[in-house]
């Protein structure tokens, strides 16, 4: 191939990879509202910890996940700062059944459960703290949502 054409192809490859990266980044940490989800119990996610009285943040991780420890720290910090909110981290490495059941396609994936254990929202990828806090405020029955009414 002509060197100029080869150089053009190489640049096109870089451009395509950049496009892929931008598309991936735009989807990272995006919240999806979940409607009509059944109520979960701690046993459903193999958790030995009880769910929170106000809300529960269920984080799916694996042992090979570069962003999971950072997400763990952030969500655990949110749980510490908000009474009634509990953070549960579920390692999918040995629980492929849970990965399939909850259709986890990337780690971390976080579920926001309301006080009854119903999934209200899910986030694929590392979530932003502000988004998590806003969703906790908007959960049905939360103090914030009650005051707003």
């Amino acid at each position: 191939m002509d060197p100029i054409l080869a150089l053009g192809s190489v640049l096109a490859l870089v451009a395509a990879a950049t496009g892929l990266g931008l598309a991936w980044r735009a989807r990272q940490g995006r919240f999806t509202e979940v409607a009509e989800a059944p109520a979960l119990t701690p046993a459903d996610v193999a958790s030995t910890v009880s769910f929170g009285a106000e809300a529960t943040l269920v984080q799916f991780s694996t042992e090979h996940c570069s962003r999971c420890p950072g997400t763990h720290r952030m969500l655990a910090g949110v749980a510490r700062s908000r009474p009634g909110v509990v953070h549960v981290e579920v390692d999918l490495t040995h629980r492929a059944d849970l990965a399939r059941r909850f259709q986890v396609l990337q780690t971390p994936t976080t579920l926001i459960l309301d006080r009854t254990g119903r999934v209200q929202a899910r986030v694929g990828g590392a979530p932003h703290k502000a988004g998590i806090l806003a969703h906790l405020d908007d959960l049905p029955g939360s103090l914030h949502a009650t005051l707003a009414r």
Binding site: V10, S66, R67, V88, H94, A99
Partner: protein, 173 residues
């Protein structure tokens, strides 16, 4: 240093949290290395496209050997990682957090697999395979370096889901 504290008072424990992690890697190191690797893979693609098959294959062999080094010795002891520690990290602020070396080491293994396929097919006389596998490895290395995307993490989850690894309940750790 506030590096992955034990999170006292956090009931964050499903089946996995609280396991001992060994976060001892500056996460910028593997990304720096992925940048160098991506540049060299791009050279392989260019050489392959211009018909310099021997040069392309030779460079891919070197890159496969480097991936093997990272996969076996661990991402923290990769030559690019040593370069980073020696010349780059002293000029940077300390990292905000350290990383478990397992994900980038696994990623090195994925890189080894892909480049090895290119080397084997190239040696078998299928010259275009060298450029194609180098292009595939480039995309992964580039996304890692520029966007902090972890292809190894994604593949690991897919392997877990397919039941190929991590089968059975967690053993006590």
């Amino acid at each position: 240093m506030p590096l992955l504290p034990a999170e006292p008072g956090t009931p964050g424990a499903g089946t996995g949290a609280g396991r001992p992690r060994r976060p001892d890697l500056d996460p910028r190191g593997p990304r720096f290395g992925a940048g160098i690797t991506a540049g060299l893979l791009l050279v392989v693609v260019f050489l392959s496209l211009t018909g310099a098959s021997v040069a392309a294959l030779s460079l891919l062999v070197v890159l496969a050997a480097l991936f093997a080094w990272g996969a076996i010795a661990g991402a923290g002891r990769h030559p690019w990682g040593l370069l980073f520690k020696r010349f780059v990290r002293p000029r940077l602020a300390p990292p905000r957090e350290l990383e478990n070396p397992a994900p980038p080491t696994f990623a090195q293994g994925v890189g080894l697999l892909v480049t090895l396929v290119g080397v084997v097919l190239g040696l078998a006389g299928l010259a275009p395979a060298v450029g194609i596998t180098a292009a595939a490895a480039f995309v992964a290395a580039f996304l890692n370096a520029v966007f902090d995307y972890c292809l190894g993490c994604q593949l690991y989850l897919l392997l877990v889901r397919s039941g190929l690894i991590g089968r059975g309940p967690a053993t006590a750790r």
